[in-house]
């Protein structure tokens, strides 16, 4: 396999409202952080590449766009996702309970081979910690998923999270052979020229 080979993967974010899903993506993709990030970042999806020793992984990152608030995510969201980051807020125990239910939801609705990472976000707020690292770590180990604590605010572990996921993704899986095509506008809109 040549080192220049680029592998494309869809990555979805899951987790309760206001745990910092969008902030993690914005930090990773644009290296920015806004204390008062709007609940939705207004993008269909963002892309970012991770350079590994052997290959390049290009993530197509889908944010929930707020549809997680009433658990109203469409099947389309889970479909074809090779990787998922399930986010909780280390200062909010409810969000950790939520994260565990998102893992179940993903296992039920997503691809059976989806690679999952659990991210304990807002790790910069150590003084307000309510979810112990060990508790989340042992849950992650039991379920065979990655676990990192991150801070979108000070960028700690954010890149590492995506790199660890990129490493775990299968690079030799054959791309599905489907003759599906994306729709494109006609090159020249003069209908009568066809």
């Amino acid at each position: 396999m040549s080192s220049s080979r680029v592998h494309h993967f869809k990555l979805v974010l899951l987790g309760d409202t206001a745990v910092g899903k969008s902030c993690l993506v914005v930090r990773f993709v644009r290296d920015e952080f806004f204390e008062f990030q709007e609940p939705t970042i207004g993008a269909a999806f963002l892309t970012q590449t991770v350079q590994l020793d052997e290959s390049t992984v290009k993530f197509e990152i889908w944010d929930t766009a707020g549809q997680e608030r009433y658990r109203s995510l469409a099947p389309m969201y889970y479909r074809g996702a090779a990787a998922a980051i399930i986010v909780y807020d280390i200062t909010n125990p409810d969000s950790f309970t939520g994260a565990k239910s998102w893992v179940k939801e993903l296992q039920r609705r997503g691809d059976p081979n989806v690679v999952i990472a659990l991210a304990g976000n807002k790790a910069d707020l150590e003084s307000r910690r309510k979810v112990e690292f060990e508790e989340a770590q042992s849950y992650a180990e039991e379920n065979g998923i990655l676990h990192l604590e991150t801070s979108a605010k000070n960028a700690n572990n954010v890149k590492a999270l995506f790199v660890e996921l990129a490493k775990k993704l299968p690079k030799n899986a054959p791309q599905p052979e489907r003759e599906a095509f994306p729709l494109a506008a006609p090159q020249n809109d003069n209908r009568n020229c066809c």
Binding site: A65, G66, A74, P75
Partner: protein
């Protein structure tokens, strides 16, 4: 999850705010039309709340997995020997998308195309004298080989098609002396010497006319439909139709994501108890309840499908009979096509309305490998669904499992200006979305007061680099 509940002075005693309480528009149902409207409104900066009583997107036009399909029709537990539940995305309303039609324009306009992959439908067939025939698609050669017409008729057919291809409403030199705003379709066919069978085939299988009423009307609209058919055919190859992988349910889901990205709020599994009207009889909000908790949200306009409105706001139109069949083989005599449409023109089988058959399988990711779904549909004429559908069901070969439904179609009694209730029409019996798009454009105009300009991209959000 814990959420802060907002309070408002307009909330009745003992009632909490539903979601954020105040919206620019509340949309009831997540069918395709409702989702397109909410998507377009949110792009314009409107604050949207969209509510659906079902736990899935799509309403009457959803694509269901095996469990939901069996549950929907009260058919007991889904069988365990038919593959993975998640492999199934069975459409409740069978339709294909015309490659150059208005729905395609809306998908491009909103960039919902980013979320979906499409495939061409492999074959388009028409029923004639007891057999099904492939509709010629690849120009002269296939037309000449088709058993649909005699040799002399093929020549006439060809010159008719050349005329239609060249015809332009705005340039009279292409009219060849024919004024299609006064000449009827019947007269136009006669002018080219086309036989009634050929005319029937063109009208029903290509222009997708449902009955014969267009024959005595000006030819122009029918000719335009034929042009869309021809351009669509040239766009992607084997048939004029395209279809989204994983089923039509992806369409409303995609538009809902556009709305969500622009701040729309979505609540599935949420029944609506009541639409609230003010003293002047104008809709101003909705009431819902959950676990005994009463909730209300307010908005100056309510958009929705007919099932959310009281009987005095909608009127019944026709009844559509549909039979969803699961097969373990492709439809016979279609060269094992993975996906087909068959049109049975009503007059061929002693009916007024055409019978449509749509079939697709695992290549479109709507069934498990080896299983095919075929949906037969028509407008009810006989008051016995099996009799209505017989001419289509007969073409399918052995059927593993079938689900028959008769659904009453509704349309709004008013345009919404007097009561703020903007109601869509039920999905019609056609096998395509062209009429549904007309309803959508009308709904959009009623809601916003402007025509939808499909020539520009609605979604100019940064970030999809």
């Amino acid at each position: 999850m814990a959420e802060e509940t907002k309070t408002f002075d307009w909330l009745p005693e003992g009632t909490e705010a539903l979601a954020d309480g105040e919206y620019d528009c509340i949309v009831l149902g997540t069918g395709l039309k409702e989702c397109v409207i909410s998507g377009l409104l949110s792009v314009k900066g409107k604050k949207i709340l969209q509510v659906d009583r079902n736990g899935y997107y799509g309403g009457d036009g959803a694509s269901l997995n095996l469990t939901n399909l069996f549950e929907k029709f009260g058919a007991g537990d889904a069988p365990t020997n038919m593959g993975e539940n998640r492999d199934y995305n069975v459409d409740l309303v069978p339709k294909f998308i015309m490659a150059c039609g208005n729905l395609t324009k809306m998908l491009l306009h909103t960039k919902v195309t980013r979320y979906l992959d499409f495939k061409s439908i492999s074959g388009s067939y028409v029923y004639k004298a007891g057999k099904i025939h492939k509709i010629p698609t690849s120009g002269v050669q296939e037309v000449l080989q088709s058993p649909l017409m005699s040799l002399f008729e093929k020549r006439r057919f060809r010159s008719f098609m050349i005329f239609v291809d060249k015809y332009k409403e705005e340039s009279s030199e292409t009219w060849e002396g024919r004024d299609l705003t006064t000449m009827t379709m019947n007269q136009l066919y006669k002018d080219f010497g086309l036989q009634p069978d050929t005319a029937q085939f063109i009208s029903h299988a290509m222009c997708l006319k449902l009955d014969e009423s267009h024959m005595n009307e000006p030819a122009l609209p029918t000719v335009k439909e034929l042009q869309i058919y021809m351009y669509s055919l040239m766009r992607y190859g084997t048939s004029p139709y395209i279809y989204p992988c994983y089923g039509l349910g992806g369409l409303p889901e995609g538009f809902s994501r556009i709305c969500a990205i622009h701040g729309g709020t979505f609540m599935l599994n949420q029944d609506v108890d009541e639409i609230v009207f003010d003293a002047e009889g104008k809709a101003c909000g909705i009431k819902c309840s959950e676990d005994g908790k009463k909730m209300m949200a307010k908005a100056p306009m309510i958009v929705g499908d007919p099932s959310y409105f009281s009987q005095d706001k909608v009127k019944p139109t026709s009844q559509v009979v549909r039979c969803i069949c699961l097969l373990n083989h492709p439809i016979p005599d279609t060269k094992d096509s993975e996906s087909v449409q068959i049109v049975v023109p009503g007059p061929q089988v002693g009916r007024i309305n055409d019978v449509f058959v749509c079939s697709m399988g695992n290549s479109l990711q709507v069934t498990a490998p080896g299983v095919y779904v075929a949906i037969v549909s028509t407008i009810s004429e006989k008051h016995d669904p099996d009799e209505d559908l017989a001419s289509g069901l007969r073409l399918l070969g052995p059927i593993l499992k079938r689900f028959t439904s008769v659904s009453q179609q509704y349309e709004p009694v008013a345009d919404g200006t007097s009561d703020n209730c903007y109601i869509s029409k039920s999905f019609d019996a056609t096998s395509h979305f062209e009429n549904d798009c007309d309803d959508l454009l009308s709904l959009y105009k009623r809601v916003t007061g402007e025509e939808l300009d499909l020539s520009i991209n609605a979604d100019s959000v940064e970030g999809d680099y």
